[in-house]
Symmetry: C2
């Protein structure tokens, strides 16, 4: 049976950039959290005004996308059968490798704390079997490393193809990577588009990354005979 | 085309009970939030120790279940086509009516604040078109009010039937209610089971309420020809 590799691409996850570290709203946030800005994640919900002048601001500072997507992917029949691999590729070319046994906290603030710890230590939890690891890696390097048969990107800019058909195809292959944009709007970078063998639009309307992830996994389970 | 009515049943949502209002962890939490305990939601993540001696503690204090389920249900093709109605029935027999146009905040703490405001005011947002309303209502009263053709409950204690089959059936009917448990473990109350025309187990393993909601909506869209 084929394994599904889901990669969240250009995920809107990064530490607070130095260029806005002195903005009043960031200073207030640092004080409240008792951490330095290079130990805190950028989050539009808290740093909206400070982010205004950042380049590509509309694609940045959305750790909630990563949180909700992981919550939707991990406690699934597919993952429990060992047939799912998850990776988060960030817009700064870092890659987070997710152990399938991790239980992601449902509490957003605790999730932020966990990922901030990950950025500081390189892996978490400390002093136990690491369940999340982060390292510098481009998307191309990640795809090379995970060794897949095919790379399928999902995007509003792809050609329309029903998700059911896409999943029936890929469930026949041993290891296929499905790439989902980890940012709130906009397109993949050109260099990333070039890495995709196929690019599909699976719905007429934009769905949130976490809804896409849930539906891809569900449909892949149906195609593989894991769900009915 | 049939409409889908999803009811989260016995949802683990309630204000902090008076009986534990003086527990040290609750006193600390009240001070931090600057609110009275009857203005704050019970949440196992914060009140674990205080909850220990509450009856049925394992079924209570999980607002995150409601948050994640709403996030998975609302931004979907089904809801955008006006074919979804959502209700939250709580374990204390209150019913929250969800306007399909609401955009649920992705931030958990802000969601808690919104629901706390809802408990105080009866509807939110104040001074605008209400997007959430809460009222006293039993599940039986709610089911009578929403006027459905059939009531289908989902539970690990039901008879096994693939979700695909269930959805193909119910998408043929004009208005069917699908009931999902809004609590982390345990069974529906007997009086609630008696309201269900059919009770199905759709997976061999327990899934989170938010995963079930996502899959039911996706499969219903497939059965109705909204998704492909």
């Amino acid at each position: 049976m084929g394994k599904l590799i889901v990669i969240l691409v250009e995920a809107a996850l990064e530490l607070i950039p130095t260029s806005i570290a002195d903005h009043p709203s960031i200073l207030h946030y640092k004080r409240k959290k008792g951490k330095r800005s290079d130990q805190l994640l950028l989050d539009r919900a808290y740093h909206h005004f400070a982010m205004k002048h950042l380049p590509e601001a509309e694609k940045r500072g959305r750790p909630d996308i990563i949180h909700l997507t992981l919550l939707n992917m991990l406690n699934t029949p597919l993952n429990k059968r060992g047939l799912l691999e998850c990776y988060i590729h960030t817009r700064e070319d870092k890659v987070i490798q997710v152990d399938p046994e991790i239980r992601i906290t449902r509490h957003y603030d605790r999730f932020l704390g966990l990922i901030e710890q990950l950025y500081t230590l390189g892996e978490v939890p400390p002093a136990a079997k690491p369940l999340l690891k982060i390292e510098d890696s481009t998307l191309a390097q990640l795809i090379e490393k995970v060794n897949v048969t095919k790379v399928v990107g999902l995007s509003m800019h792809g050609s329309f193809r029903p998700l059911k058909e896409v999943c029936e195809d890929i469930s026949q292959l041993p290891r296929v990577a499905v790439l989902i944009g980890g940012f709130p709007k906009g397109q993949y970078k050109k260099t990333h588009l070039q890495l995709m063998d196929e690019l599909y639009k699976i719905y007429r309307e934009r769905l949130d990354a976490w809804s896409i992830a849930c539906r891809v996994i569900h449909q892949f389970e149906l195609a593989s005979g894991i769900s009915f």
